[in-house]
């Protein structure tokens, strides 16, 4: 397998674009990534596009709008892990020697309000019973509180931290720093989670150009290597217990990459609620079981070391246009590892991780699919 590098990244600021077609959002991100890579358009040998519900052949429609049509294009749907799964396919094609430079894009325009689970997955039993995405996370909070202790202030603190990160991110949807009181006073969604502890719906697009050493050599120290791209599927194991699919995927990715959780300086994960972020600290192996809430209380400190989670503001701050999130997470980590993250730069960041999880299926304990990417400069 050949080494695979991120040659360029680009995105449009996440937010609301009522008058801009999704193709235009995607084209802007793709052209930004291509410009950042500094390679000619003719160098792109293939394209991969992730989205959830933007209709057929979105990738081709975006390429057409960007003047880049006429290359092999694959569209990928894996719920919130759509564009990160597209990146997994691109990574494999470059690693296998099929292509030297490809573009991966994610784009989505969303309706406001709760995700309509019973429309996204026809006839889903738990959706019909009233399950919503925030309420699922709220049930995990109920369990966590019973096992390890957890307060509403802990859950609010994560939102405050991520709003502080997002305030310095020009691509973030919400850039106003929040206070604990404000987060607690926002409307209750599903106890104990308030609105400001849950991610918004968003419009947006993101893109990365990945390639082989043939192009990365010209970038010298600026090239960031995707040491491993890993995709894993969820399963029914009977009891909604650990290890869940995120924990399995992370453990496998660390082993395949020869990188341990103790090496990770910066991470972006599918923190769709503040509870989800706390669980990710543990499931990604950054801390042990029950220690996630201690990280919150210690301001990111785990005792022996410090890692920064959601440097770009996470899903709460940056926004969450479903199909665009996975690649946007990678863009943020690339900026961090290059030292180009401006006021939100994590000093000396050398190893980064991204995690995306997509889909909830009745009767399956895990999310449907999870991706983990490990990147290093």
């Amino acid at each position: 397998m050949r080494h695979v590098y991120v040659l360029g990244v680009g995105m449009v600021p996440f937010g609301r674009y009522p008058n801009t077609p999704v193709e235009d959002l995607g084209a802007e991100a793709v052209l930004a990534a291509l410009g950042d890579a500094g390679i000619p358009a003719t160098a792109l040998a293939a394209a991969y596009c992730g989205h959830v519900s933007q209709g057929m052949t979105l990738g081709e429609r975006i390429l057409d709008r960007a003047g880049l049509a006429g290359i092999p294009t694959t569209n990928v749907e894996n719920a919130c892990a759509s564009s990160s799964t597209a990146l997994n396919a691109a990574w494999l094609a470059v690693a296998a020697g099929q292509y030297d430079a490809v573009v991966v894009m994610g784009a989505e325009k969303m309706r406001r309000g709760l995700l309509p689970l019973t429309r996204l997955a026809e006839g889903d039993l738990e959706g019909l019973l009233g399950k919503t995405i925030p309420s699922l996370s709220a049930l995990f909070a109920s369990r966590y509180a019973a096992e390890y202790g957890l307060t509403s202030e802990d859950l609010a603190a994560v939102a405050v931290k991520n709003s502080r990160h997002a305030a310095h991110n020009p691509y973030a949807q919400y850039r106003r720093p929040l206070t604990v009181d404000e987060v607690l006073a926002s409307p209750m969604i599903s106890t104990p989670l308030t609105q400001l502890m849950c991610c918004p719906t968003s419009d947006g697009a993101s893109a990365v150009v990945v390639g082989s050493g043939r192009y990365a050599r010209r970038q010298r120290s600026r090239a960031v290597r995707i040491v491993r791209s890993h995709l894993q599927g969820g399963v029914c194991i009977g009891t909604r217990s650990t290890p869940n699919v995120t924990a399995r995927a992370a453990r496998q990715a660390y082993e395949l990459a020869g990188i341990g959780p103790e090496d990770v300086d910066v991470a972006e994960g599918l923190d769709y609620t503040t509870m989800a972020e706390i669980l990710l600290y543990e499931d990604l192996g950054l801390v042990g079981p029950g220690e996630g809430v201690k990280v919150v209380r210690n301001g990111g400190q785990t005792g022996r070391r410090r890692f920064v989670f959601s440097p770009g503001g996470g899903l709460l701050g940056r926004g969450h246009p479903l199909g665009a999130t996975g690649v946007a997470q990678v863009a943020e980590i690339v900026w961090q590892l290059r030292g180009e993250a401006g006021e939100r730069q994590v000093p000396g960041a050398r190893v980064g991780l991204t995690h995306a999880a997509g889909g909830v299926i009745t009767g399956v304990d895990d999310e449907a699919s999870v991706t983990v990417h490990l990147l290093a400069r």
Partner: protein, 143 residues
């Protein structure tokens, strides 16, 4: 104009044991794999442990379970007009299912025993009354 005709439908075809779910005390139906002895809900044809359907059969699930996680959903899913509570409920068969729960707020706590009630959950815009299930706290079930 005549009154709209309401049609009673189950929330899912295979989740209740045989009988008229509107008038009889039906239970929830799961699947059990006699090879690995794991029980599943909702029912499935193939065992995800054994990757095989040969040893799978239907099983009637207990009507009493225990709350293992609970949340009050203030912002309900689109089909619902009012807030409700959701829980993960553990059944003696080893099944942990997501369900609505009802009862006094101070009784909907972890460890509380709850009983199955089959009842309408919501009506669709095209006139279907959807029958599902809730688990209710022991005291309110025997009211």
């Amino acid at each position: 104009m005549a009154d709209a005709v309401i049609v009673d439908v189950p929330i899912k075809e295979d989740v209740f044991t045989p009988g008229d779910f509107r008038t009889e005390a039906v239970s929830l139906r799961g699947s059990r794999c006699s090879r690995c002895e794991e029980t599943f809900f909702p029912p499935r044809r193939f065992c995800p442990r054994c990757h095989d359907g040969a040893a799978m059969g239907g099983v009637t699930l207990s009507r009493r379970g225990r709350i293992c996680a609970v949340t009050h959903v203030a912002r309900p899913a689109a089909a619902y007009k009012q807030a409700y509570s959701l829980a993960l409920v553990d059944l003696p068969e080893g099944v942990r299912l997501l369900t609505q729960v009802a009862g006094p707020a101070d009784a909907l706590v972890l460890g509380a025993e709850v009983d199955l009630v089959v009842e309408p959950l919501f009506e669709t815009p095209d006139g279907q009354r959807v029958w599902g299930y809730r688990f209710v706290t022991f005291d309110s079930a025997s009211r």
